[in-house]
């Protein structure tokens, strides 16, 4: 390996009551692309926050050497001055400023506080060319797609004379083509001598651009693997990440599948602002009683939009399509109508759309069916607390009491509260959107068990997920979506990750690509 540009030695970081990192080592060679993988909560983000100075020197143990010199960063500015720049998953761009203004935000070309537009624009134009962005420096960020915004972020990093670029899940929100462009850019920057830390879950990406990979689990370094010319053993990385075999994470089921309970027929939705965009295009699917049906698709495939539109037209503009319950057409034009027909939608975004974080567990659980614990408009708080307590026990929500604020729970426990809320509404059809996103393995397994139980009770369950192993482990049948259309329907027995991925990436422009 080349001389290390970065060495992090036995980094430990403790939050009140929790050891987030213990004795983590990370060494990145000069001009190397180094991947860091690990499940959610493994400590990747915390490690990067230590490196970039978000957690300042003194709040952690261990040592950081950058280009051979010890570093004690007080804040992000300090690390950026040394040439360490982090690009977060949520991009830090101002939507109504131009590309050029964003590139030099906080780092302006100015003389005594007056911006020199000449220097700003010429330098911006050069950087834009360097990252392969085909846009004018005057374009507003809001008018760019996510892929191009990502390139602006990299240009911004280059403007800061970056030596070590940290990318946190850079392709999570990108389509395949944009992802490929971004990965190519990383390799190009590497050729120019810029080192890179790439945090990613996508093993094929890692195989393509990374020179070595460090696997983290539970705040510890598991191993660092150099990637040779033959590529890497994905199995080895996966084993390192999860630390146990994949097979046992899913509950055993003996599905009792009945008649068709829930049908969506020819559903179409336009984008709420841009009416030319068809976000969902004539989607049809059905779920039987006692069946768990998956919907696979990449970001932007229209899965969440389909579900939310069916659930009380909560997204975009409906332009056509019908919903049937037990063969009878039903109206779901408002959320109360949808709930009234026994449909529940468990959102992918529990913090923004699922919970009232300032309120306690019991009131969050009862919210969607308050009428069940009320008489003539008055809530029976005793009954409400009793029911919440029974959910706390059966769902094993870890909290001191049902009066604990949901905002203070961990992701997994929050998800259990959201799920409890909808189970309490006693729906016949449950639409679960990314039910295990951002939660730890233990909580995942518990949620899978709950989902399996719901199906065993005869409910129709639709699971939207980006994790293919999850769909394969849980579902009886899987639909795939791409560009707003249902591109395939595969029974569990015939489905593999590869076959699903082929359907998920099927472009409408080349329908003959179907295998």
């Amino acid at each position: 390996m080349a001389r290390p540009v970065l060495e992090m030695r036995s980094i430990s970081k403790t939050f009140p009551g929790v050891k987030a990192l213990s004795e983590v080592n990370l060494t990145v060679g000069t001009g190397e692309v180094h991947a860091v993988c690990g499940e959610n909560g493994a400590g990747k983000s915390t490690l990067m926050k230590v490196l970039s100075g978000v957690h300042p020197h003194g709040s952690y143990e261990g040592e950081i050497y950058f280009e051979g010199e010890p570093c004690r960063f007080r804040d992000i500015r300090a690390s950026e001055q040394r040439g360490i720049v982090i690009i977060h998953q949520e991009l830090a761009l101002v939507p109504y400023l131009s590309v050029a203004e964003n590139i030099f935000l906080g780092n302006e070309h100015a003389t005594r506080g007056v911006i020199s537009w000449h220097r700003t624009l010429t330098h911006a134009a050069a950087l834009i060319r360097q990252v392969g962005l085909d846009e004018s420096p005057h374009t507003r960020i809001a008018d760019l797609g996510v892929g191009k915004q990502q390139l602006v972020e990299i240009a911004k990093a280059l403007a800061k004379k970056v030596k070590l670029l940290i990318l946190d899940e850079p392709t999570a929100a990108l389509n395949d083509e944009d992802s490929r462009k971004l990965l190519d850019l990383i390799l190009e920057l590497k050729a120019q001598g810029i080192s890179c830390i790439l945090i990613s879950h996508k093993l094929n990406e890692i195989a393509r651009v990374a020179d070595s990979v460090t696997v983290l689990r539970d705040g510890r370094t598991i191993e660092t693997i150099a990637i040779g010319p033959d590529g890497i053993s994905e199995e080895r990385i996966i084993r390192g990440m999860v630390g146990r075999d994949l097979e046992h994470r899913y509950p055993e089921r003996a599905p009792q599948i009945g008649e068709v309970a829930f049908e969506i027929d020819g559903w179409s939705v336009q984008h709420p602002i841009d009416h030319r965009r068809r976000v969902v295009d004539g989607a049809s699917l059905n779920v039987r009683r006692g069946e768990i049906v998956g919907v696979a698709g990449l970001m932007g495939a229209g899965r969440t939009e389909l579900a939310m539109s069916v659930f009380g037209r909560s997204y975009g503009r409906w332009t056509g399509g019908r919903v049937r319950l037990h063969g009878r057409e039903i109206r779901t034009r408002t959320v109360p109508e949808a709930i009234g027909h026994g449909i529940a939608y468990v959102t992918e975004d529990r913090k923004q759309l699922g919970l009232n974080l300032g309120d306690d567990i019991s009131r969050n659980i009862s919210l969607s069916a308050l009428g069940k614990v009320a008489r003539r408009g008055w809530v029976d708080r005793h009954e409400e607390a009793r029911i919440a307590e029974s959910f706390r026990r059966t769902m094993s929500i870890k909290a001191p009491s049902v009066f604990a604020e949901t905002g203070k729970l961990s992701g997994g426990n929050q998800q259990k509260v959201v799920l409890s809320k909808w189970i309490f509404a006693e729906p016949e059809v449950l639409i679960l959107d990314e039910p295990t996103r951002g939660i730890d393995i233990g909580a995942k397994a518990e949620i899978y068990t709950v989902v399996a139980e719901l199906a065993a009770q005869g409910k129709a369950v639709l699971v939207i997920s980006s994790e293919l192993p999850e769909l394969l482990g849980l579902c009886d049948r899987i639909y795939t979506m791409a560009e707003g259309r249902i591109t395939g329907e595969v029974p569990r027995a015939d489905a593999t990750q590869e076959s699903l991925m082929r359907l998920m990436t099927m472009s409408a422009a080349y329908p003959d690509k179907q295998v």
């Binding site: 959610n40 909560g41 400590g43 919970l355 974080l357 919210l367 708080r381 049902v402 961990s410 951002g438």
Partner: protein
């Protein structure tokens, strides 16, 4: 991401640890849990004690207490409605103008058109409801920010007041109407040194309060919550008893319970119960806390917001009537800056600027903090210039303290 997922690993306290921990620790924990609510009550008590000492005991004299209630009644009424609007995540800047407008309308009805005062009163409350519905319509159904709609309302109703009154005061009102603000419960029964009905009322309030506390304690135990230790619970009951008895005797040794206090009591109990125990109240908190989540849970958010503004309109009308009755005139300058006092009261009393948090009792507490400060500072001769400076600092300190606490708790 890691710290979000892993922070709240504090072990649930078992009964054993509860029994072992000292009373002080339990008290500290109980206080911490309800810091904002108890905190403000404690602050109010301290301010009262401070001025009681400073004014050589004038503050808590029966006459002054009665004055304090009658001087602040209309602000407290507004504060209740404002608290609900703020809980729903909105604001209402028009309430001062609306109070003036309704007061003016009532004056015109009673003085110029010789309407019987009860009819005028009901009509005035209806006008308030209509004005609230007007603003609620723009805010809830057309999605125009409440700040702008009610800023427009502030101008609209102020102008309307001036048009109605032609720039002049309209007076005087019938005695019955004036009593809303300056009347007392009637004196009945045998002659004692105290006001009989007031004693009776005080006793029943005490009985209900103790009953509620005992029931609450029994219920807490049945949820597996750690109840206050028996000793502390008795202390709490003692404190409640002492304050209710003292307050009752204070009032009973003068003219008895002012009608305004009766109105406030009914509003406190009624709205307190609605906000805590009704589906509508619960939905108000849910919308203010996270509107998107509430909507996806089937809450009809537009209707709830609309009703919050209708209610605010009615309460603004009531406040306007109480104020007009106190002045015994409808005047074009009535209600100026009332909206600011009411908003300040709500925030001092524990409302959150982002919505979803607050209680009706808090609104009253906040309003009383401001009222006692006004009254106390006037008594010791602080000029209104310095009074404003101090009230401004108190508002900032109360909210700043809350933000600081939240950050500490969330870190």
């Amino acid at each position: 991401m890691a710290q979000i997922e892993t922070t709240p690993k504090t072990a649930p306290s078992t009964p054993e640890t509860a029994r072992r921990s000292s009373a002080g620790a339990v008290l500290a924990r109980a206080l911490r849990g309800n810091l904002r609510q108890y905190g403000m009550l404690v602050a109010l008590a301290l301010i009262v004690l401070l001025f009681q000492f400073w004014t050589d005991g004038i503050l808590l004299q029966p006459l002054n207490i009665t004055n304090l209630i009658q001087q602040n009644g209309y602000i407290l009424i507004l504060a209740i409605g404002m608290m609900i609007v703020i809980i729903a995540g909105h604001i209402d800047l028009s309430v001062g103008s609306l109070a003036a407008f309704v007061g003016a309308a009532a004056a015109v009805m009673m003085v110029e058109h010789r309407m019987p005062w009860p009819v005028a009163l009901v009509a005035a409350l209806l006008i308030g409801a209509l004005a609230g519905a007007w603003q609620g319509f723009w805010i809830a159904y057309l999605g125009i920010p409440s700040f702008i709609v009610t800023l427009a309302g502030m101008l609209l109703f102020r102008g309307g007041t001036q048009i109605l009154l032609q720039g002049q005061s309209v007076a005087p009102f019938p005695k019955g109407f004036q009593n809303i603000s300056s009347g007392f419960l009637p004196a009945v029964g045998p002659h004692t040194d105290y006001h009989n009905l007031t004693l009776l009322l005080g006793l029943s309030v005490l009985a209900v309060a103790i009953l509620q506390e005992v029931r609450g304690r029994r219920r807490a135990a049945s949820y597996g919550l750690e109840p206050l230790p028996a000793g502390l619970f008795l202390v709490k009951l003692g404190a409640i008893t002492a304050s209710v008895v003292a307050f009752t005797l204070l009032l009973a040794s003068y003219h008895g319970v002012p009608i305004v206090l009766l109105i406030l009591g009914v509003l406190l109990v009624g709205f307190g119960y609605v906000m805590r125990n009704s589906i509508l109240g619960r939905h108000t908190y849910a919308i203010g806390g996270n509107e998107a989540a509430a909507r996806l849970s089937g809450v009809k958010s537009k209707r709830v917001v609309f009703l919050a503004f209708v209610n605010m309109g009615v309460l603004a009308a009531l406040a306007g009537l109480v104020f007009a009755a106190r002045l015994n005139a409808g005047t074009p300058q009535a209600g100026i800056n009332f909206e600011l006092e009411a908003i300040a009261a709500a925030f001092i009393g524990g409302a959150s600027a982002s919505g979803g948090v607050g209680t009706v009792l808090g609104a009253l507490t906040g309003g009383l903090v401001l009222g006692v400060l006004n009254n106390g500072m006037s008594l010791v001769g602080v000029g209104t210039d310095y009074q404003q400076v101090i009230k401004g600092l108190v508002l900032l300190a109360a909210v700043g303290f809350d933000v600081y606490n939240k950050r500490k708790a969330g870190a």
